[in-house]
């Protein structure tokens, strides 16, 4: 494959997306306006579990401006059940209807939908729908849900267990017997709300004339939506166009196709009118999938010199009340990534994913890997405490050596490349680690609770080889790109990824500019429209550049090769005599040359046959990665805890990451910074809370604490570059890394601050109340 001289690539180019967004001219789904539009409002369950005795829609239907009221009975088997992504034959499963079918399984489950001439009328009428529910006992706590006598989310299933996967390892048992020391920990990875600033929004438009459905939806994977909606409505996918216009953040929670999406499509077809819905923030906190929700128990076998020999882990993952796209499988990644960047000899694990009467869980910025990093990075600090070693020394003693790549871990992951000492060394230098420890010693002498936390982590990106999932999972995870050169030499790129803030309209234009010597203004990147992009997968799993960008590189290579052949013909020279540089094809050793734009025009408009070539200048490429990529980083955080109040001040945060070759460092920094703040949010403030009866307690911004600007100091960033050979760009992926590294780093710092008091763990979120109570309990002990 060709390599193009980096000219624009590697530069901090400001975004092509921004001119429209900074002027308020972007079109998000709720901004779509169509003639004869109607507006939907949902009636949702107030109970976590129960039987629906009756639904009376008559008052709602009679309300002025109401165009239709729909319940499960109205669907009459014509649409549904809810789309399901990945599934296994032997897992606990039941169909999930688009609207509740006689029973409710969680608070917020849609029961009825009202469609009206205005959004206000729809909401008024939704309030008039009378639903009579006979509540029954809900099961909310995931560990309690595993008990044989626990109330069952699905009465027709034998238990609440969705998947139970034991992964025993006799080698681990042996190492536990041989080890100098062992320790065990129970770690909670609480549920969090993805909280994109734009909630879910759908505009469904069935056009009876052409028999075509267009759905605008705030989603990360519109090609999945197209397939899932077609399946749900039992219409051919060629009748469905899914558009993800501007999407106001997703973080994994907009990968799935939600029940509301096919439902509104079906209603649009029933009414022959467009239907629009944008959820309220409370609906978002109730009805958008939650992230994390793991309970982990970990045992560690280690030597007195700090070397970790083996792990025995247990993950209990809360699936919620129904299976979202990938939710029940997230825990698998936790096991896969359990070794972190350490050469651990053996790993045994036990995975249980369990139904509860709560909202479904789904990927959230990291999806299983943050949980793994949290476990192993907390473990490393506790091993350091048990052995009396510096946490940095413990990590160094366990690192996979940089000469050992590709490296297969004891949990079966194949790491592409890495140099963990490199990033750690740079972080130690940037942070002034020794000085920071000395300052901490002095602070402690003054009685101050100052803590320094570390995380040296790796994660898996560039999702990912289609063969990474079972064939029956029907989830090809390659990516596509089409490069279409116009007769002028201007270029349109059609990509299968679906960026929603990541900036690939810019990064991809940089790549095109380097390949053809055209300006950034001469490139348009089209995404998020299934009628323009034949097939694609979407933006998640840190795959935009590593997979989507790689596909673009392949397409650019194909176009470039054809342009070279056309240039050779017109220059009357053999192809191997053509040299290319900065948009010009030159016959080697001569001044005979053609510009890329001249070649583009010749390819389209000149009445000259180039032997063996079709007219035009366009290529489609699909990149199937041979493996995944493993970026890594070394983070340090310094906090000070106020013993009187439990308040934590983040005083410093230093991050040195390695994500391979970088297309646009400014955009990469943006991904890292945003990720870190989300990870810190989980560590310190964020928590989806249900009460014992399954009522959501964190249903508004008064109750769910999203990080704000004043919570943070200026983050200090640097990076090292260890390329990957998994893709032709050498780029690894950046979207989730910050979240994965920052959460354990913060908790390690907090525990480090409190360790002189005898405190060895703080569950997330480390909110002041919890920290204060821990300090009080330690003082009392």
């Amino acid at each position: 494959m060709a390599t193009f001289r980096p000219n624009s690539v590697g530069q901090a180019i400001k975004r092509r997306e921004d001119p429209r967004l900074i002027r308020g001219l972007g079109t998000y789904t709720d901004d779509v306006k169509l003639p004869r539009m109607t507006y939907a409002a949902f009636v949702r369950s107030d109970f976590a579990a129960g039987a629906i005795r009756s639904i009376d829609t008559s008052a709602a239907a009679a309300h002025p401006g109401v165009a239709g009221v729909y319940t499960y009975a109205d669907m009459d088997g014509q649409v549904g059940p809810s789309p399901v992504g990945v599934e296994l034959p032997d897992m606990g499963k039941a169909d999930h209807p688009l609207l509740a079918d006689g029973r409710v399984l969680h608070v917020g489950q849609p029961i009825a939908v009202v469609v009206a001439e205005t959004p206000y009328a729809a909401r008024d009428a939704a309030g008039l729908v009378d639903v009579d529910i006979e509540p029954r006992e809900a099961v909310v706590d995931v560990e309690a849900a595993m008990a044989p006598d626990a109330p069952r989310v699905y009465e027709e299933l034998d238990s609440n267990i969705c998947i139970h996967l034991p992964i025993p390892n006799p080698e681990a048992d042996k190492l536990f017997e041989q080890a100098d020391q062992t320790l065990s920990m129970r770690l909670l990875n609480q549920k969090v709300a993805p909280f994109p600033m734009e909630g879910r929004a759908v505009c469904a438009h069935w056009e009876e004339g052409p028999g075509k459905l267009t759905i605008w939806t705030s989603n990360q994977a519109p090609h999945f939506v197209k397939q899932q909606v077609a399946m749900c409505l039992r219409i051919p996918e060629i009748r469905v166009r899914a558009i993800a216009p501007e999407v106001g953040g997703g973080f994994g929670a907009k990968i799935p196709t939600y029940p509301e999406e096919p439902l509104l499509c079906w209603i649009s077809r029933a009414l022959c009118r467009p239907v629009k819905w944008a959820e309220t923030r409370t609906e978002n906190l109730l009805g958008m999938t939650h992230g994390r929700g793991h309970v982990e128990k970990i045992e560690v076998a280690f030597q007195n010199d700090g070397r970790v020999l083996a792990l025995k882990g247990q993950t209990i993952s809360d699936v919620g009340a129904w299976r979202s796209f990938y939710g029940p499988f997230i825990a698998m990644s936790t096991h896969t990534m359990s070794c972190g960047c350490y050469a651990i000899k053996a790993v045994a694990w036990d995975i249980a994913t369990v139904f509860t009467n709560t909202m479904a869980t789904e990927a959230y910025r990291g999806a299983g890997r943050p949980e793994a990093a949290y476990i192993i990075e907390r473990v490393m600090d506790e091993v350091a405490a048990a052995t009396g070693l510096d946490p940095i020394d413990v990590r160094r003693r366990n690192f996979v050596d940089k000469g050992a790549f590709p490296h297969t871990t004891a949990s079966g992951a194949v790491y592409d490349s890495g140099d963990y000492e490199l990033t750690l060394d740079r972080m130690v230098e940037l942070a002034g680690y020794e000085e920071a420890r000395e300052a901490q010693r002095q602070a402690r002498e003054q009685g101050r609770l100052v803590g320094i936390g570390l995380a040296t982590f790796t994660e898996v990106c560039g999702i990912g080889p289609s063969t990474g999932t079972a064939p029956q999972q029907r989830m090809g995870t390659w990516e596509s790109a089409t490069v279409r050169v116009e007769p002028s030499g201007n270029v349109t790129v059609y990509t299968g990824i679906s960026p929603h803030g990541q900036g690939q309209e810019t990064a991809f234009a940089q790549m095109v500019s380097d390949a053809f010597g055209v300006g950034l203004d001469d490139v348009v990147v089209v995404h998020g429209d299934t009628d323009q992009v034949q097939h694609g997968v979407g933006t998640f799993g840190s795959r935009g550049i590593a997979v989507g960008g790689a596909a673009l590189h392949m397409a650019l290579t194909k176009v470039h090769a054809k342009a070279t052949r056309i240039a050779a013909h017109h220059l009357d020279a053999p192809v191997d005599q053509i040299e290319y540089e900065d948009g010009e094809f030159t016959v080697s050793g001569t001044d005979r040359k053609l510009t890329f734009r001249e070649v583009a025009e010749m390819a389209h408009l000149w009445n000259v046959n180039v032997p063996g070539e079709e007219p035009g200048l366009e290529a489609v490429a699909r990149f199937e990665p041979p493996g995944t990529t493993f970026p890594f980083g070394a983070h340090l955080c310094q906090v000070e805890v106020d013993a009187e109040s439990g308040q934590i001040e983040i005083q410093r945060y230093v991050a040195v990451d390695d994500f391979g070759v970088v297309i646009n460092p400014m955009l990469a920094d943006g991904q890292r910074l945003g990720g870190m703040v989300q990870g810190i949010g989980q560590a310190m403030w964020e928590e989806v809370q249900y009460d014992d009866g399954g009522q959501l307690l964190s249903g508004t911004l008064m109750d769910y604490a999203v990080p704000r600007a004043k919570h943070f100091p200026r983050m200090e960033l640097d990076n090292t570059v260890t390329p990957t050979e998994i893709n032709p760009l050498g780029a690894k992926g950046i979207g989730e890394l910050g979240t994965i590294g920052s959460t354990p780093c913060i908790v390690n710092a907090i525990v480090d601050a409190l360790r002189p008091l005898g405190i060895t763990n703080i569950d997330m979120p480390a909110k002041p109340e919890r920290v204060w109570q821990a300090i009080q309990s330690a003082g009392a002990a």
């Binding site: 400001k14 900074i22 308020g24 998000y28 206000y120 600033m197 910074l673 999203v706 704000r708």
Partner: protein, 160 residues
């Protein structure tokens, strides 16, 4: 049908007369009646700032202002901040230059809130910027590049 009341609001320099339900929120008036969809709804509870506009020169959360409260008043939205693409407001320049936005959903409100800050304090410190933007949530950027953007705007405005 619900009763309507007349309102006259000057938005971005143009005066608009409409009949609205008394309960109509300013954000819905701007988005639905005037097609100013740069004003975004993020929480309907004054807490996220995505809907921030200026009412008589002061930043307000338009999700908790009634359209009738804006009767006879002047509103400026993100669409009114720059006459065209070639004459961006320093804050728009700052957000573009410093990568102060990713998904862009919070951006109009963030810029309008930052405008209030710079109107009151033309050269704020980083701490003052972070405090001033406390009513505006961004879930993408981690805020640091927003701080850079506001500082850049302050420098550009100060130099001009």
């Amino acid at each position: 049908m619900p009763r309507s009341v007349p309102v006259t609001v000057t938005v971005n320099g143009s005066t608009h007369e409409r009949e609205v339900e008394p309960r109509t929120l300013l954000v819905h008036f701007l988005r639905e009646e005037l097609d100013l969809t740069g004003v975004h709804v993020g929480c309907e509870s004054t807490l996220c700032g995505a809907c921030t506009v200026h009412l008589n020169g002061r930043a307000v959360k338009s999700c908790t202002v009634l359209a009738v409260q804006a009767d006879g008043q002047e509103v400026t939205t993100i669409e009114g901040l720059a006459p065209n693409a070639d004459n961006l407001h320093p804050l728009q320049v700052g957000f573009w230059e410093k990568h102060g936005l990713q998904c862009g959903y919070c951006t109009p409100g963030m810029i309008m809130a930052a405008k209030q800050l710079l109107d009151d304090n033309p050269s704020p410190t980083e701490t003052e910027i972070r405090e001033a933007l406390d009513g505006n949530i961004c879930r993408c950027t981690g805020y640091q590049q927003i701080v850079d953007a506001v500082q850049h705007a302050a420098e550009v405005a100060g130099a001009s």
